[in-house]
Symmetry: C2
Subunit: 128 residues, 2 copies
């Protein structure tokens, strides 16, 4: 697999990371995601990491990069589904995921994004 | 990885398959999904296979199983994001994915599910 699928939900994009990111995969994800943000004019990016039982410093940096790039493109990033052990590891590694919002699950993440970008609720259904 | 994450969106569950399913992973997915359908009273299951460039007969059978099980639990299954090459292979293999709805992408799949289970649009936002 050399691509992680990016799913579109109205104004938001969803990425589910299920495998360890190696260099090329991470770079592909970054560029695909930014292109999707631009193409779909997405206002938010949800990154689901519920499948990951470990997040190393590389992965942490990639998530930070994505958040930074998205922000420049006027989209907010929310990391959802983080396992408790991952949160512990991140803090122990000194990675605070600055500039990245977090939420317990996708639904809470979407609510958070909606409040951040102040869209009315029904805009979630604006499916083209 | 021994689990594929299942994400909840209101009345629907979303599964993104990014890796080849081997026996245990497939069995885990089946049982996790059915338990989630029961626990969340989901009315629909979306299976995104946009990351797969090949679907073999085993994968086809698993998707069929999931659709069958979900149906008994009163949930419809929609496979979304199928690559053209996969559609060609499936038909050449004689796998017609009977009882499984398909849609081009997640948004179209959600619309399809909504029409199938005749929920009003705004119910997508019923986030608990």
């Amino acid at each position: 697999m050399d691509k992680i699928p990016i799913l579109r939900f109205g104004h938001f994009l969803l990425v589910t990371i299920q495998v360890d990111l190696y260099d090329r995969l991470a770079l592909n994800l970054e560029s695909d995601l930014i292109q999707m943000v631009s193409k779909t004019q997405a206002r938010g990016v949800l990154i689901d990491i519920s499948a990951l039982s470990i997040v190393d410093s590389f992965m942490g940096r990639i998530i930070g990069n994505i958040a930074g790039m998205s922000k420049i493109m006027d989209a907010q990033t929310v990391v959802v589904g983080m396992q408790p052990a991952v949160a512990i590891t991140l803090i122990e590694l000194g990675l605070e995921l600055k500039g990245v919002y977090t939420a317990l699950n996708v639904e809470k993440g979407m609510s958070l994004l909606q409040s951040k970008i102040s869209l009315p609720d029904e805009d979630l259904d604006n499916i083209e």
